[in-house]
Symmetry: C2
Subunit: 649 residues, 2 copies
Amino acid sequence: MTDDPAPELDLDALRREGLLPAPGTETAAHDGTGRVELSFTVEDSGGAPPSHRAVRVPPGVTVFDSASWNGIAIDSTCGGHGTCHKCKVRVEGSTPISRHDVRTFSREQLDDGWRLACLLQATRDLQVAVPPLTTRPKAATVGVGRQVILRPAVQKRYVELDEPSLTDQRSDLQRLLDAIDDLEPRPDLHALRRLPTVLRQADHKVTAVVVDEALVDVEPGDTTDQRYAIAFDLGTTTVVATLLDLALGTPVAVASMLNRQQPFGGDVITRISATMMDPDALPRLQRAAADTLVELAAQVCKEGEVDPAQVYEVAVAGNATMTALVLGIDPEPLGMAPFVMVAAQPPSVLASEIGLELHPRARALFFPALGAYVGGDIVAGMLATGMDRDKRTRLFVDVGTNCEIVLSDGERILATAAPAGPAFEGGAIKCGMRAAEGAIEVVRLGGADDPVQLGVIGDVEPMGLCGSGLVDAVAELVRVGLLDASGRFVPDEQAPIVAPALADRLTRIGEERVFVLHRPHPEAGPEESVVLSQRDVRELQFAKAAISTGWTLLLEELGLEHRDVQQVLMAGSFGSYISPASAVRIGLVPTLPVLRIVSAGNVAGEGAKMALLSIRERAGAAALLEEVTYVELSDRTDFNDRFVEQLSF
Amino acid sequence: MTDDPAPELDLDALRREGLLPAPGTETAAHDGTGRVELSFTVEDSGGAPPSHRAVRVPPGVTVFDSASWNGIAIDSTCGGHGTCHKCKVRVEGSTPISRHDVRTFSREQLDDGWRLACLLQATRDLQVAVPPLTTRPKAATVGVGRQVILRPAVQKRYVELDEPSLTDQRSDLQRLLDAIDDLEPRPDLHALRRLPTVLRQADHKVTAVVVDEALVDVEPGDTTDQRYAIAFDLGTTTVVATLLDLALGTPVAVASMLNRQQPFGGDVITRISATMMDPDALPRLQRAAADTLVELAAQVCKEGEVDPAQVYEVAVAGNATMTALVLGIDPEPLGMAPFVMVAAQPPSVLASEIGLELHPRARALFFPALGAYVGGDIVAGMLATGMDRDKRTRLFVDVGTNCEIVLSDGERILATAAPAGPAFEGGAIKCGMRAAEGAIEVVRLGGADDPVQLGVIGDVEPMGLCGSGLVDAVAELVRVGLLDASGRFVPDEQAPIVAPALADRLTRIGEERVFVLHRPHPEAGPEESVVLSQRDVRELQFAKAAISTGWTLLLEELGLEHRDVQQVLMAGSFGSYISPASAVRIGLVPTLPVLRIVSAGNVAGEGAKMALLSIRERAGAAALLEEVTYVELSDRTDFNDRFVEQLSF
């Protein structure tokens, strides 16, 4: 009794004896490097030969999640909580037996390798046999070609209960829970308040509404078909809402509008500054965000003809600042070094706590963030693009004032943020404007008949240049030789030689050289025209250098070269519009065949939809926090050297 | 792959091989019968010889709880959540190894039987060695001689954190949680809103406030000594509040008042009826209960000079109707057969949801109920009296309009409710009144000098008869022979023979025979006097018969005789005042030596205090739900026969 127990042991010996559960059960136990391979053999219920599929996941992920994240369906109604006992698989070799396994399988079956997939963690390579499905699961395609097996947090169960009697005095709650024994929710007070009345008015034929672990309501009759959720992409500039039918997995209505926080400033830094100047600014910014969400929710519910009281959950994907502001959390530490978040994973709150009037107990889900400048919107985007579920080396770039960069080599994932400045949003650009009607978004130079071809949003008279037009213009000027590799316009005398049809457009406003993209009338001087100035080119150079320095350093961290990148995903409302050829030409992305550069669209919104459609995907988003290594650039001594190297085209 | 898994297995074989965890991990797995014995050997830190103690608990209870419930201290700071890794014990024989054991002990220590007590379930008799304590735990004596080791749900931790830097960008939350690693709370939004500001204003020297699983606040500086809670005994008639200092385990202030629901009726049935007549009655009853709690909370905080914002938790012990009403739940199903509760365990809510203005995230805890008429007040009472932790055969009787009866033989526990009617509260009694000033509460007959001795509340002129006076009067009249065993006054001609000094007091009002207890003046007729009527005796007979039928049937269920009962606990504001001798004489309780009949006092309030002082005791209250068998009397065919048998004295 006198030997003081000290923490030392032979883990491997314990594992060999089956005494030690999988290490993945311990939080943050694995170091994010190395994966295990699961080889699934999926039997077909129609009698076709079994199909085979190998997937790689971080150690500790359950077999159920590994399958689910890769679109491989395994029977389940509880969604992986160990309560429905349906996700039966057979694995080869010795694996731990959970107490639910003991309740589900015979001794012979346990010896034969049968286990519940949701409780079995993959800690080594496994061969997994999946029996034929007893019910065909619904799936939806969202994100970048991601197949999501529907298993929303919002579940409804219609039940017809026995009336209570003196020989069956179970409480109302117990009677209900006994009838939905694949779920084990805790009741909200709201649901308990409704339960006795609704049960008796509806002759004990009711629908239980469960969100995640909570029984939030009980509704008379069968309302199982009516369950909805709203995915919000809470952008600094634009906010998009998608109303989802959770029973079908399909979008019902979409609406977007400018974030009502705009009057406080166009980017996150100006909004953070506002809260530092004025103690009233935080509540006002919070209200502005709430008003935006409320208006969009009303729009999509109206358009979809859905009762807001049947919206039981919302997911919000936003950057760290937008997330803090809508939750009423002071964003100040995000705005200054050392750039600290209050919490990587915001708490799950009631939708009413962020101002939404949906079902009174609707939940609001926020995405976790990897850092102050790689926020929940990027985690949602990683989910939508499957950054953690692809063997290829892929680069994800969300271009904006703050540019988020994620690199995966199929084993490890790195993320960082690069301060690109406002150039891509039209800020600090002479004729810059947002991507709205009248903005030049496409530029082609040097055609025989028409040396300057412009694509203009709304097909109207060009009024200015948006981000993608800026990239195009610079890329084209480099291509035709009017800009040299250092980003300088060529001397006046050289212009007619390299580009005779365009030389007259290279002129000056005051001392500064400009290239005229569009004259409102033939005699218009450069001051009246839409032009690209030498300084604009410099702004874009700085922006692209910040970004390419970011991914160059990430490539170096993983010991990779440009040519190792197999796919580039351009994300965000701006990134999706950039011409891949132009992006390559100015060096914004590594030099790749353009077909490997994919416009990924609004991936944050897609990730929010995935989280609403599947609790497994939601768990996947949380797992990214463990798996992704955040690389801080602002204290890198080599950053400035690399930055200078990256300035040239 | 074609053999469909079916649930069959050899549990014992699996247990022998250590593959099967303890069955107690499964909800409601044991049937409530049979216990296991744990023999503790507790080493003394001062060098004294070890002490030995054997306790019996239901199978599946953890070793830590088994010790804690019996006042045996084991080191722990997390309170049994498996997070602090301090509750080290050594057990003999083979027992399962948890993953926390693996992280805490060396292989040799595991072989040697070292385990964490909080994760080891007692599924068979065990020998447990407890090492000397490294810190002396605080304990408090509450309830009926119960020693409670202090471990409140409300925990405070003072920490001095490193400032963040570019090389340490942990979020504010992570930084805080890393510093209090024996707890793993989830943050409330409220705490996250306060966190960045408080951390920076207080130079990162702060106190984290944790309630149960939630981080509810962060306070500047060291506030660890300031933590309070309020225990409410929410009676139908009287409500009592006790403000507790959780750091010391001592009461700071106590206050009581009549329940403000009184205008709706004196008992639970009239209040339930009120909600059935008038749709506004439920919110008004809810508000009346809330007002009562609010006023008492203000009183005890004022008297104890405690800031209400430092009250972080309240516990409410009330019967099922009071609990439903204060939560705003329709009580109607409680009021009519088949007497069904909405939920046995009310949800944990915020104190603000029941109207209290304490710390904004203070929690309100409610006791679970065993049935519509054996509510949370009785479960609290069972906790305070240790009904489940005593080897003796004990009978617990809470006397009132509804009388709750609990019987334990040290292995099994049965509970029931008997409708005693209003006699004990002075209702339906000719000169009945509540136990207030002027009420006769003690009656002694047949003294030589003074044949009628009365004890009167407030020592004033007697105005009526309260419940304990009623019991005394009848018991004394039986003893002196003026009432026969059937409850009839003896014939007039017989009275002078059996009790010459009292015979003149046996007279009539109209046709009804009455016994005059007190004449306001020597010539006063019986109409002007305080009397006990024949009909009063009948009322008491019915009330006592209901109660004694209740415990008689419970004794039969356990195969016991009256004489097997080793202790009777008389509880409740009324029960505590009944004379044990009189209770025995009229047959309200089994025939026992009076010293074995204990007035237990306000056990509901004591139970509420215990739940606030110790999360282990709280878990014990929840465990009672599994362990106690509720016996419904209203559908027993033998009830009426027994009732008639029990009518005589």
